[in-house]
Every structure is written in structure tokens, then in C-alpha cells.
Assembly symmetry: C2
Homo-oligomer: 363 residues x 2
């Protein structure tokens, strides 16, 4: 049966990185009879330029219908002045919300060949393998009221609302515990229960979910600020971290930077399994942004985008062997000293976007 992929390359280096994934898909279709069917749409600034919105309803419908969405990156200085509602990020946020992609998986792994590139001492990051499970459709990102009110007298008031319901915390905790079972069986839940009521509820619900269904998994709780500290101090103490949308945004970026492999890190955003088919809606995207400063130059690192496709093979199509192969090809190419400019090191060979894609394909 055909596997329908909807590509949203977006802005900046998104299209270049996506080009390398297209090559891999073409190869899999021809040499391995994989039967991927591709369609493509616009998101972010490029959608705004074409349609005046950050994603059109037509593309949104295609994303909803696809087996998986591959997303590049959005944003750039060109669109800094556009209205809040149609800013590039709004396209990504609408995809997450409308597709109900509540579970964002962000692996922070340190490729051995790149340990020296971390700003941390190599012995602290060598072999690092953390999975951050971030809640993605709730919290302060989407809670209402969310507005700026004019109070008169030159005073305005900006309001955002953090809201979490029991079921939202339960389902993301469930994902974290399930994934921990396939790893080192340890979950650390992070919130600010000493200051936030949503943090108090988060802590309670994670604790109850654990007790009810996952008591075989080791569970720890940490305040989110202490968690940020511990990530910097001794990141290898963590296996799976589960946290809310905003803390997840901050903590996963810090964790990604620790690895020295920022341009290499993928992410998966998953919905709930469909009641009938068991299939999850899913979107895969690199953790890096649109990097407008190097866009169009053919020098962007496509590895995060390719690794995102590997996650897609794994989580959307259960093509575990293929995903493993692709991830191994990435590691091999790095071991051979082939590097894009962002991860260049002494004694390595610097290549552009397409050469990197070709090298991985060859592996």
C-alpha cells in the first residue's frame, strides 16, 4: 500500500535540506520498492507570500490526510513585520494543534564523532542519549485568554494562560513511560510545582499514572529550573524527560546544544493512535531553525532533516531496519570525517548540502 508523505519544506534552509530527503526517498522507491507517494505544500513565510496566511486550508487538509508530514523550517527576517496571526510560526502551531500532535519526541544524542564539538567537556557528553518528551498541544502555547489589552493611559496588559487538564498530562506521561520501557526504563518529570498550580497537577497526574500502569518504570521528579541546571552539570543522569510545552521548548533546546550536534537533531510530533486503524498522525522536523543567513548557499547541514525522516520510518511506518540503516549511514559518514561547515573540525573534509546527502545515500 502506498505511503503518503506530505512535504512542507518551508523557509530558509528548509527546502535545501528537504531536497536531500527527496533523493533518499527516490532511492528507496526505485531500489527498494518502498512505494512512497509525495505531495508538497507551503508553510511559514513562503505560504504567507503566496496566500497571506502561514498555511492554507488546502495544505492543512493535505497534512491531515497524509500518513506523515515532513516539515523543514519556518521564519526569517523578511517576515519579522507581518501580523502576529499570520507570522511564519503560526503555520507550525496550527499543524500541531489541528493534527493534535500532543507528543513531541526530541532525542538529544551525541554522535561520537562530534563529542569534541560540544561546549561541554567531552567526557560529560560522550555517549549521551536523552529523549525529551514534550507536551505539544497545551499549556501556555494555546491557553485562552491570550491577548494584549489596552488599559488606557499608555498602559497595555499582555496575558497568556497556561492550562493543563488531567487527560492531557496522562496521555503524555503514558508516551514517556512507554518509550522509557524501550530504553533505560527511567523517566524524570519536570515542572515548577513550587510556583505553578498546573505544575502541582502535572506532578500529581504523572505520579498517579505511574502508580496505576507503569510502576515497573523508575520515576523521578525535578523542578524545571533545577532540571536545566542538571542538564548542564551532568546530562548523562537522564534517560527520558517528560515536561510541558514551554519547559520542553527551553529544556530541549538546552539539551540539543549540549550534544554539540544541534544541526543533526531530529524530532517527531505524534498524535494519539486512531481508535480503528491504530495509526497516529505525525509530523517530523529538524530541531534547527530556518537559518536565513546561510539559506540558498548550498552549505546547510541536511542531517537533522534526514534523521527526521529516519524517525518517520520508525514511528509512522514501522520500518525499523530501514530507520536503523539510515541512522547508521549518518554515523558512518561522520566517522569518515565528512562534514558540512557547521560541524567542520580539523582533519575533516568539508562538503556542501548535496554532497552530504549523497555520502549518506551511498552508505
Amino acid at each position: 500500500m502506498a505511503k503518503n508523505l506530505f512535504l512542507l519544506p518551508g523557509d530558509g534552509i528548509g527546502p535545501e535540506a528537504m531536497g536531500e530527503v527527496r533523493k533518499i526517498i527516490a532511492y528507496m522507491n526505485s531500489a527498494m520498492k518502498a512505494d512512497f507517494k509525495l505531495d508538497e505544500g507551503l508553510v511559514g513565510g513562503s505560504a504567507y507570500d503566496a496566500h497571506g496566511v502561514a498555511i492554507s486550508d488546502a495544505d492543512m487538509a493535505k497534512a491531515m490526510a497524509a500518513d506523515a508530514v515532513l516539515f523543514g523550517a519556518v521564519g526569517g527576517p523578511k517576515w519579522d513585520g507581518v501580523p502576529y496571526e499570520v507570522r511564519p510560526e503560526a503555520g507550525l502551531l496550527r499543524l500541531r494543534k489541528d493534527m493534535e500532535l500532543f507528543a513531541n519526541l526530541r532525542p538529544a544524542i551525541c554522535y561520537p564523532a562530534l563529542a569534541a564539538a560540544s561546549s561541554l567537556k567531552p567526557e560529560l557528553v560522550e555517549g549521551l542519549d536523552i529523549l525529551i518528551v514534550r507536551e505539544l498541544t497545551g499549556g501556555v502555547y494555546f491557553g485562552e485568554p491570550k491577548q494584549i489589552i489596552d488599559l488606557g493611559n499608555g498602559q497595555k496588559r499582555g496575558i497568556d494562560t497556561q492550562i493543563y487538564d488531567t487527560y492531557e498530562i496522562e496521555r503524555i506521561a503514558g508516551v514517556a513511560f512507554e518509550l522509557a520501557r524501550t530504553r533505560k526504563n527511567t523517566v524524570c518529570s519536570m515542572e515548577k510545582r513550587n510556583v505553578m498550580k498546573s505544575g502541582v497537577l502535572w506532578n500529581q497526574v504523572v505520579t498517579e499514572t505511574h502508580k496505576r500502569s507503569y510502576s515497573d518504570v523508575k520515576l523521578e521528579h525535578m523542578l524545571a529550573d533545577a532540571g536545566g541546571m542538571q542538564l548542564v552539570r551532568a546530562p548523562k543522569q537522564f534517560d527520558v524527560i517528560v515536561t510541558d510545552n514551554l519547559f520542553g521548548d527551553m529544556l530541549s533546546d538546552v539539551a540539543a546544544m549540549l550534544t554539540g550536534s544541534l544541526g543533526m537533531l531530529p524530532s517527531a510530533s505524534l498524535g494519539a493512535p486512531d481508535g480503528k486503524t491504530g495509526k497516529r498522525k505525525a509530523l517530523y522536523e529538524p530541531v534547527h531553525g530556518s537559518a536565513p543567513d546561510i539559506a540558498g548557499k548550498g552549505i546547510a547541514n541536511p542531517i537533522a532533516m534526514i534523521a527526521s525522516f529516519a524517525m518517520c520510518l520508525r514511528y509512522s511506518f514501522n520500518m525499523i531496519a530501514e530507520a536503523d540503516n539510515l541512522e547508521k549511514a549518518i554515523a558512518n559518514v561522520l566517522d569518515q570525517g565528512i562534514r558540512t561547515g557547521d560541524i567542520m573540525a580539523e582533519g575533516c573534509r568539508q562538503v556542501g548540502t548535496t554532497e552530504m546527502g549523497d555520502a549518506i545515500l551511498k552508505e
Copy 2:
């Protein structure tokens, strides 16, 4: 004129660390005729044990009347189960709110003698000197509604509200710009304007305040998640960082950990200058917590508490020379290789809390 200090040692290692500050104050009173008058109260778990609240109204009144408050630390497993309203942290939060201490200054400096203790590569942190200016009386810490609602059906809803008014952002931006002028004249403002309306307002008001009164200072804006990354990647790019209460909590902890000097870092929380006297209400506290695991053993590092007193001399009493001297004494003692257990390194001499205090006093 007598200088009235109100001491709130709190829980855990707070009282031990405060003991060393008492010694320094006694010395200043006797040898330097400094005329500090001391009073002492209870806060956190120890206040809860005595009065059933995290700070009593009587102690609150003393804090309001004092020239400055010295605060130790609060919390510990003993009070994990107490009701939310009277948990140890509530005492600290009430002090901040009732004294209107809207400006929290958190220097993240790297003591040269301790650069090797950082988890970052030494060359990235040697000479590091960042000042984080965190808004402390607004945002999600205090906004209403802040509650857990029972929705029935086993579902609860946790709600917190982030609120910022123009004047709140203006005054904290003003503090950041003023302080930048005494340093490298550069401010980086951090928010999530791509997701939060309060972030949009924050960005606007900081920009306008800059234009109106501080255009001689260099101003930069960064998304808070990117800011967390950049702190880990290349912390020396920053001079003054200004950010909201919650981002400030996270980012200042990450920054503190970077320095390798966590047990050494002080903070100052300041109110607005009084219209008549020009005096600011102020509270000084170490960045580290109550460390219940090592409390009562005489091994805690008192440096952060002593450095907090140095900030007190500087900001509340304009005793700049005395503050400089005290800070230099700390650096000298570290240079001599005298260390408490938390910062112990090869070839150094390990001492306890009181010996460390004595060594600094001697200097």
C-alpha cells in the same frame, strides 16, 4: 546612623551560612564602627513549624521596616507534604511580592580559580561575567487565575496566568539599561514573542524604553529558547540579560551552573527607590538552595551568602569599597586553594563552613 539588617536564615544550610555573615558583621561593627543592628526572624519550613505559616505577619512587618533583608534558603523534604499556601517557598514569594522587589539581579561570574570546575570547556567560561536582571513580582508567578478546578469525571484543570503590564516591563528594562551603563553597555532582552502575547508586549516596551531613554546602550533581542542555547554555546557573548520572572528563573539557573561556581553566587532583589528618601527595599540571598542533605554538618559553602552580603553593602548602603574588599577576600581565599567540599579540587585544602568564613574574614 544605625543600619538595620533583618536576617532570615531559613532552613537547611541557611543558618550555617548566615552564621559566617554574622561574624563578618560583628567584625565590621567592632573594628570598623559600621553600626549594623541585627534582628532575626523565621521563614520557610522553620516558620511553618513555629507558626503554621511560611512567614509570620510580625516577621513580614520587620522585613518591610528593615534597611535590608538577608535571606538564607528555604525548603526540604520535611515539608514536602504541607499545603500549597504554606509551603516553604510561599515565604520567599510573599517577601518578594509585599516588599515589591521587582528587580532580581543575578550575577553569573566565573571565579578564575574555579574555571576548571565548570562542565563547560574552561576557555568558554574563564572571565565570564554576566548579569541577569530578572523581573520578580509579575508574570506567571503571581497572575490570577491560579488554581486547580475540579471538572468532574476524574478530570481536573490546572491554570496559571502570565500577566505583564507596560509599567512593569518599563521599570525592569530601566534597571537593566542603568546597570549596563556601569558595565559593557549591552543588554539582551529575552522572551517568546513568537508564541506569547506577553512576549510581544515585552519586546515592544523594552524597545520603546530603549529608544526613549537609553539609546546609548546596545540592545539586542533573543527568543528565550535560543537564549538558553546561546548561554550554553558561548556565554561570553552576553553582558546584561533582562527577562521575565519564569524565563529568568530558568536562564539564571543555567547561567549559574555554567560558571562552575553555583555555591558561590549571590543575588539581590530590589524595589523601586522611595519617592522621598530614594532608598530601595532590598533582599539579598544566595542562588543555591537549602541543601538539606548536607545541612547541620558544618560543611556547607558560605561564600554565596557572604557574597550576597557584599551585594548588600554595595546596593543598600553604598559601601562600595567595603563590598569590593569583601569580594576580593573571597577571590583571594579561592586563589589560595582553600575550598569547601562542593568545590574541592586536586591540590587544594578542604575546609568546613566556619573555617571558610574565618579565612575570608582574615583576608
